[in-house]
């Protein structure tokens, strides 16, 4: 897992409701440009660009320039700092219990 931003960075980036809405919108689309984000946001393009910079710094969003457009996509791994050891082991043990069930079926049919 890539860990560049800290929990604080990620929290700070997502604490602002407008920025969070921007992030959610990006997360729901495969890729989206600033124009599309602005159209449905009710804030200026400048404000959206500012939010995008913050999200990018926090490692939550990636950008891909194409001609005169820049397309933004969400980076789920950017939420890594929030998904700590505990969520790792929560998934780990659930999966392992499923393995155990299969193993027990094999050795004690």
């Amino acid at each position: 897992m890539i860990q560049t931003a800290s929990i604080d960075d990620v929290m700070r980036a997502l604490a602002d409701p407008t920025r969070r809405a921007v992030f959610e919108r990006i997360a729901r689309s495969k890729e989206v440009n600033v124009g599309e984000l602005t159209r449905r946001s009710g804030v200026t393009q400048g404000a959206i660009s500012q939010h995008l910079r913050t999200l990018k710094r926090a490692g939550l969003v990636a950008e891909r320039p194409e001609g005169r457009n820049v397309f933004y996509s969400a980076k789920p791994e950017g939420l890594g700092p929030l998904f700590d050891w505990m969520s790792h082991y929560d998934a780990f043990w659930r999966e392992r219990f499923a393995n155990l069930r299969t193993l027990l079926k094999e050795i004690d049919p």
Partner: protein, 152 residues
């Protein structure tokens, strides 16, 4: 936001009924060979004896070599098995961060088999972080809840 000021410890609990005798399940929990099969990491140097030290090798991260250090803390055949589970490194955040936890398996005979309860305890979390986990709908849903947590 004071996300890192206050901390709390949390545990993971899994409690399931298995259609097998406690003795059969006990074998899978305390035999090196069988542990390797379902935990998917073969323990190194394991003996089901209190005081035994063993390790698991998992994926390294940053300054951490990926070795999980365990010590057997309690063994009551067919009933209870407890060991410590330590690893991680100060240089990491999230996966790979310092970890000092305890894993406890409890077996209880039940109708139709055995109730197996696993408690992995001692996770130290920033207080606010709790709400990020326990998410049912994936990470976008988690993000939606951040507003409520951060008080915005």
């Amino acid at each position: 936001m004071n996300v890192t000021v206050q901390t709390r410890t949390e545990e993971i609990v899994i409690d399931e009924l298995f259609p097998h005798a406690p003795e059969t399940i006990w074998k899978t929990l305390t035999s090196s060979e069988l542990m390797g099969k379902w935990v998917r990491m073969a323990p190194s140097g394991f003996e089901p004896v209190v005081g035994n030290h063993f390790t698991y090798q998992t994926t390294p991260a940053g300054g951490w070599d990926g070795v999980i250090h365990c010590e057997v803390l309690e063994v009551i055949p067919n009933q209870l098995f407890r060991y410590s589970w330590r690893g991680g490194h100060e240089s990491n955040v999230g996966y790979g961060a310092p970890l000092d936890t305890i894993v406890t398996f409890t077996l209880a005979r039940a109708e139709g088999g055995t109730r197996l309860r696993m408690v992995h305890s001692g996770f130290v979390l920033p207080r606010n972080e709790t709400a990020y986990r326990n998410m049912s709908g994936g990470w976008t849903n988690a993000v939606e809840r951040i507003g409520a947590i951060s008080g915005s």
